[in-house]
Symmetry: C2
Subunit: 397 residues, 2 copies
């Protein structure tokens, strides 16, 4: 049969990153290309205890159909916790549990955007979100990143030039892929611009709790007295990603539309997972758990940055990080970045070419992303040494 | 803020069924309106054993990110099992694990349909699927149901008249809401028509394993030598719905597009759930488990049909069933169906008005759907007696 696909999937080309992942499947390859939390960060014993308790004492609740909005005790917990801890959520907001934060991106776009509408996003930005936006045939316009977040002039120019902007997409903390954190001044300015131009903000914050140094900066959503910020949170990085539990704090009017869309996608999020998250949050000390994660990531990122200093300087520069899972490395002018990444793979080290994160993959880019949380220390040492050898060969040749 | 939603969600109106569910939340109301499997059908002990084993011996595998296509051993099991047991799957097919079968409907529509394309569906049909189709702004055209499935003449007329049909949607076994099973002759004819007109078939089969009487009829997918049938299966009715594990057996070319769409929706299906399903299927006797479910549903449906005969005859007729979870009851001509359902709710019995399942809810309809698997025997007895009292009052007045 001759298949006729929808226009929206015809436009979704397999990305460069997928090509890379094929190599990463080779067990001999050191993958610095993933985005997995460190396995030692999972509270395995606690989750098993909670799960065992649920399946022993309330099995039917965990196995039967449930409601689309999410498990009520977990929604209650999050409503209180986010308000108390982060000043997130007003009377006009509510909490929706989703199948991972990825689904927040999907439901937001599905609820707000017609084909041809525009989403403004940081350039570069998280490829998973960009592809979700693309799958609804919205047009992406990238806004250049500075050391402290989006270039505000470029953002306002885009808002002025594009009449069909529906929302601004930002990862304000330890951004994927750059590791950049938006300053408090810029958060206020982005909020003011969104208000001035009548567009929404989709604030994606999977890494905010993984700050291991420097000062905490409040979320843009904490400023939201106008109901224009949709906040996306996730348990993937702070409990475990396999559970696929994320959440949105969103104005109720928007959430109602997202619920209708979610009903049609997966009816509700896995209810066992939701109960396990709820049980973990209520029975154990979540703040102590987060402190333990920060210790793990502080140590591992410092180890990695030392390796980068030792093996890649002076040729490859990187942006030091205060949190999150990624380091953004930049090659000297004149070095062919895609060729470098390909050479690295042939030497059995996998990194992600930076153009994968651009709104237009064909744009020139000198950077690549490495992840330090998934590989072992031995793999990090060996992998970064190989990258160092490669860049030296290229530059000193 | 003045929210501007996408056209697709503006067109999604809250359905009659949602209105009904508000009443059903009242603990005093007897709900015959759900679609939940019977809690006694869940293999609780076995699932707890498998889960405990996984979280003890392979916790990281169950908690870490996984691949979009699904857990490889579960895909392998299903590929073999469906081929051996149901003659489903050819070399051009593959298996995709989804977050419930609802996601199969979503990914199929997203991959195949542009806005304005047409989906042909049974009239009436499952409201959840119809709403998924609607959420992509496809146009639905209903095909009248006969005692043995779709009216073939009406189906061919629709195929001839509508140039933009992308697929035919059918629930061939114990259809939701009518309980009707499509005959083998009609399955062959529907396949031939799809082939003749070059459209696909989305065969949704959540209830096929719940046949408690009569002869098994092979799936339409078992005929598929041309790669035009997309088969949707689910563990919701045969293991547990809270796990949210469904699957598609689809031509590889279509599945590749569905995988790209799924990546943007939820990255992958809850991996613990997938491992639990896999462990249950491999460690226990699945066929014996299905036989036990059939015993439960045979007994409970017979009990319910006896009650219907006793209390609703001669005024309300129903279609006797050989499987599935639903009974389709029809009121005498002249009785106002929506008013009847509203009166029933005021007497604290909840059923689903049949027009909720039509492509156009405004069309006249004399039927309502009841579910017998969720309520207790006592609730069934009391609820059906109340319905009988109500119809008698209306007709004999």
């Amino acid at each position: 049969m001759e298949y006729q696909f929808s226009e929206r999937v015809q436009n979704l080309k397999p990305s460069a990153i997928r090509e890379i992942f094929k190599y990463a499947a080779d067990p001999e390859v050191i993958s610095l290309s993933a985005g997995n939390p460190s396995p030692e960060a999972f509270p395995v014993r606690e989750l098993a205890e909670v799960s065992n308790d649920i399946l022993t004492n309330r099995p039917i609740d965990a196995l039967q159909y449930s409601v689309t909005e999410g498990y009520v005790p977990l929604r209650d917990f999050l409503r209180d916790y986010m308000k108390k801890t982060h000043h997130i959520g007003r009377d006009f907001d509510d909490v929706l549990i989703t199948t991972g934060a990825q689904q927040v991106m999907d439901l937001t776009t599905k609820s707000l955007c017609n084909e041809g509408d525009v989403v403004l996003c940081e350039a570069p930005s998280f490829i998973g979100s960009l592809n979700t936006f693309r799958s609804f045939k919205v047009r992406l316009r990238g806004v250049r990143m500075e050391e402290d977040g989006m270039d505000l002039e470029a953002l306002e120019t885009a808002l002025r030039e594009e009449p069909a902007v529906k929302f601004i997409y930002t990862i304000p903390n330890f951004q994927n892929p750059t590791g950049i954190t938006m300053s408090w001044e810029k958060r206020k300015a982005v909020y003011a611009l969104a208000k001035k131009y009548g567009v929404m903000i989709l604030e994606d914050n999977p890494y905010g709790d993984l700050r291991f140094s420097g000062e905490h900066i409040p979320a843009i959503k904490s400023l939201d007295e106008d109901g224009l910020v949709l906040y996306s949170g996730s348990f993937s990085k702070v409990i475990a990603p396999g559970l696929r539990v994320g959440y949105a704090v969103a104005p109720k009017a928007v959430m109602q539309k997202m619920v209708v869309c979610k009903q049609g996608e997966d009816v509700h999020t896995n209810i066992w997972s939701q109960m396990v998250c709820d049980g973990f949050l209520r029975r154990y000390d979540f703040d102590a758990h987060l402190a333990r994660l920060r210790d793990i990531y502080r140590e591992k990122s410092a180890y990695t940055m030392d390796l980068l200093d030792k093996h890649l300087a002076p040729y490859i520069t990187y942006h030091p990080i205060d949190g999150g899972l990624f380091l953004w490395c930049t090659l000297p002018a004149g070095v062919d970045m895609p060729a470098f990444c390909k050479q690295a793979v042939l030497r059995k080290v996998c990194v992600v070419p930076g153009n994968a994160f651009l709104t237009d993959e064909a744009e020139p880019c000198q950077s690549f992303r490495i992840n330090y949380s998934t590989p072992t220390d031995e793999q990090l040492a060996k992998g970064i040494q190989i990258l160092g050898g490669l860049i030296r060969e290229i530059v000193e040749k």
